[in-house]
């Protein structure tokens, strides 16, 4: 079945994303993919989709769409965004079915920068190197979603006919502490600069997009001559250019650069960092590589468990209202 979603409004940087295109950094192609990979995975799991099924990544600009043909099940997972289906407020994380004539409006809520609208079907969108992820900077695979676009969904199914609450937004609410492993170019900084980096709070500046997040706080002067040749860049790298503000490189980062990286955000905390907004404050904490690997593995187990729990709590909201005699499910998740 075909379903069509007519975009009434879309903020900047709303785009189709999946798990990205790994393996091409050597050719100058960044991986891209969801900014919050756990949220993206949960959104697809909620609809029993393949793990990397393309979804719509929604920025703080929000989105309003109308279903103009067919019906399709959708899931919303990510930061705490507020969603309304025809004026009815949905639980923060939810799965439901949209029918022809329905309007869905998603706006940023109390925290979070990104949320994912997963679809039970395949979004018609260009694919490159086995990925549907739009690369905003090169324009090589699609472009951001704009007002008046009509998104076609092939093989649209309606596997959830009732409104389902997927539980609280978590286990990844925005934490203040972001764990990093020092390096690989800490040698370009004085010891006192490294101490300052860990002892001061940083706040997310307005310069934040899918490429990177500039942080402001205690500036980090580069102490040695900038003689390093251009080196490969990893997601999570905290690069320090001449201005001394660390920039965390995110999903659409450049593949190589010549600025020293004081530290690297561990993979387990990259989603959390991505959900921070301009003005939010963070503190860096140092862990070893071995600890970072243990944390990554623990988090993978946690995510597995969260998916199992979600499977169990795929209870329809109407059922829950009946049994708990709640007045409204709409406040759940903001408690």
């Amino acid at each position: 079945m075909l379903a069509k979603l007519n975009i009434k409004q879309a903020g900047p940087s709303v785009s189709v994303q999946d798990a990205g295109r790994p393996g091409h950094l050597r050719y100058g192609v960044t991986r891209s993919g969801a900014m919050d990979r756990a949220a993206f995975t949960i959104a697809n799991a909620a609809l029993n989709n393949p793990t990397s099924n393309p979804a719509i990544e929604i920025s703080l600009g929000g989105i309003t769409l109308e279903c103009t043909e067919g019906s399709v099940s959708l899931a919303i997972v990510g930061g705490s965004f507020t969603s309304q289906l025809n004026e009815k407020t949905l639980p923060i994380w939810s799965a439901f079915t949209i029918h022809t004539g329905d309007t869905l409006k998603i706006k940023p809520g109390v925290w979070g920068s990104w949320c994912y609208l997963a679809v039970a079907g395949l979004i018609e969108s260009p694919s490159w190197l086995d990925s549907y992820s739009v690369h905003l900077n090169s324009g090589l695979c699609g472009r951001p979603i704009l007002q008046h676009d009509v998104i076609s969904i092939q093989n649209a199914t309606t596997n959830t006919n009732e409104l389902i609450s997927l539980g609280e937004p978590g286990p990844w609410p925005v934490q203040n502490e972001i764990r990093v492993v020092v390096g690989p170019q800490e040698r370009y900084f004085e010891v006192v600069t490294l101490e300052n980096f860990f002892n001061h709070e940083y706040s997310v500046s307005a310069e934040y997009d899918r490429m990177g997040m500039r942080l402001s706080g205690c500036t980090l002067p580069i102490a040695a001559a900038l003689d390093m040749p251009s080196e490969p860049i990893s997601r999570g790298s905290l690069q320090v250019p001449g201005h001394g503000d660390p920039i965390c490189l995110m999903a659409d980062h450049h593949t190589a650069g010549g600025y020293p990286k004081i530290a690297t955000v561990i993979s387990a905390d990259q989603d959390t960092l991505a959900q921070h907004r301009t003005g939010d404050s963070i503190r860096f904490a140092s862990v070893s590589t071995a600890q970072a690997i243990r944390i990554a593995r623990d988090r993978a187990v946690q995510l597995e468990r969260a998916l199992e729990r979600m499977e169990l709590c795929k209870v329809s909201v109407t059922q829950r209202l009946w049994s708990n005699n709640l007045i409204s499910g709409a406040t759940r998740g903001e408690e």
């Binding site: 190197l129 090169s138 090589l140 390096g183 690989p184 993979s267």
Partner: protein
């Protein structure tokens, strides 16, 4: 602070990568070590390996922390560092046609003033050079070539020019580049080529491999326009 560093050197990058450094100055010898190592690691079956990214002085080896860990990856990488070098890197030679006509080379005049060389001399030098693909970076398909002859090496311009079209041949310092996408750049535009280093319709759209050698062959404007029209 900086200390004397012995090479090769392995630096862990959080829980997902190891940066293998072969030197801190880009030169042919260091780059050859990069190429040999990159080729050996890619041919071996390293458990949990996601990709290798070679640059002028180092190789980033990224891995999946759920499948392996840093110590195991480093142990495997050490083998390739200590082993006697026997591997030969498969590389290809490319002869790339370039049209250096005035209309295709908006910066040739200015460069000529700056270098005190005629446009003709610059073209002679550029097309006499032997280039090597050092690394990719900046944007998809942007392959940085080393080997610009000393006589025409110039630091990049202070102000970038916006929307430089694909297939522009540009130089800055010791490096040469063929653009693949409209991008801003401060490099000196000295010609256009009919050759496309990024071919989106191909399964592997990246025509150059790191380590390939390149020479530029002058092409007249009539032939250039004829060939451009055919494509």
């Amino acid at each position: 602070m900086q200390q004397q560093q012995a090479y090769p050197n392995l630096r862990p990058i959080a829980d997902t990568g190891v940066l293998v450094e072969f030197g801190n100055v880009a030169n042919d010898e260091v780059h050859q070590l990069v190429l040999d190592f990159d080729s050996a690691v890619r041919k071996a079956n390293v458990n949990g390996l996601i990709e290798c990214v070679p640059t002028s002085t180092c190789v980033l080896v990224s891995y999946d922390p759920l499948q392996t860990d840093c110590d195991r990856v480093c142990e495997q990488l050490e083998q390739f560092l200590s082993a006697e070098h026997v591997d030969t890197v498969d590389s290809t030679h490319w002869d790339i046609p370039v049209c250096y006509a005035e209309s295709m080379a908006p910066d040739l005049d200015q460069l000529s003033d700056r270098l005190g060389l005629s446009a003709h001399d610059i073209v002679e030098h550029h097309s006499a050079g032997r280039y090597k693909i050092i690394m990719y970076g900046f944007a998809p398909g942007y392959a940085y070539m080393g080997g610009v002859p000393e006589q025409i090496r110039t630091p990049r311009k202070t102000a970038p020019v916006m929307n430089v079209p694909p297939q522009t041949v540009m130089i800055a310092g010791p490096q040469c580049l063929i653009t693949t996408l409209p991008m801003p750049t401060g490099w000196w535009r000295i010609g256009m080529t009919t050759f496309k280093p990024l071919q989106m319709d191909k399964n592997n759209p990246f025509i150059f491999n790191v380590g390939d050698s390149v020479e530029f062959v002058p092409m007249n404007e009539t032939d250039f326009l004829k060939q451009t029209r055919q494509h």
